[in-house]
Amino acid sequence: MPELITFILAGLIVLAGALGVVLLRHPVHAALSLVATLFGVAVLFVAQEAHFLAAVQVIVYAGAIVVLFLFVIMLLGVDEAEDLSIEPLTGQRPVAIISGVCILGLSLAALFFAGGATGAKGTSGTPMGGAENITELGRLLFTDYAFAFEATAILLTIAVIGAVLLARRPPGEVLADAGSEETATPKAGQEPEVVS
């Protein structure tokens, strides 16, 4: 019974947040809905005895990534609301919704007719919850998955260097860029819509 209540509440939070990301016109509001979704997923992780991942989810996703999103929204001043009633490509929305229904139908068909998920809980003796969870995860990371773990180190280094190179201004362009920034800034902030 407690798991049922947890599932229903967290599932509602997840779905409401996801719909908010898609339907809210304002990027800041969409980012805040994303926080709700990520938090709901963290709750579902706890319900499934993935305690370490739930903590990482809250810290990395809800903490770092969403703050990065909000930072970029504020930095660029792109926080004007998008007019969702304009459909730029004719017929794009119906096609998008049809493909969405197809994706959902195929996933559910694979789930219920392929016979993969029996719904039974695992019976093997691997410790899943509590402190054993973190111990076992760490052991797996540094034994079976050691190569992938090292590869993520390289990936993160490349990502940091790439982000610095992409976002920095070329040395020769500093003055010209500053001039264009001055003309661009009032344009971007023309409608200082108050975030309520």
Binding site: V21, V78, G100, S107, A117, G122, A163
Partner: protein, 109 residues
């Protein structure tokens, strides 16, 4: 299996998998419908989270912690992807404020 006869029904792995499928679909439709590059990024995050939820469900259903390790790696890759993607968005939007995904469709500088 989803509509078990006894009440309260037991929350099985299928429930989480269905929720993950719905979440993935919402993210995919949002990615197709929205034009703001930042919101499109958020929809990609929704899809990644749906997959993470599925992995954790299977990890518990099969009693294998490998699924949770994969989720760990997905999170690392998602963080790297967001960092690089947002840097690209920043450098594009700095040149053309207010650009949407349709304005930058031609891959011209």
């Amino acid at each position: 299996m989803l509509l078990a006869a006894d009440f309260p029904p037991e929350v099985t792995a299928s429930w989480y998998l269905v929720l993950g499928a719905v979440l993935f679909t919402i993210g995919a439709v949002g990615l197709l419908v929205r034009r703001n590059p930042l919101v499109m990024f958020m929809c990609v995050e929704l899809m990644l989270n749906a997959v993470n939820l599925t992995f954790v469900s299977f990890a518990r259903a099969l009693g294998d912690l490998g699924g949770q390790v994969v989720v760990f790696f997905v999170m690392v890759v998602a963080a790297a992807e967001v960092v690089v993607g947002l840097a690209i968005v920043v450098s594009v939007l700095r040149r053309r404020p207010g650009a949407t995904a349709d304005d930058i469709a031609m891959l011209k500088g």
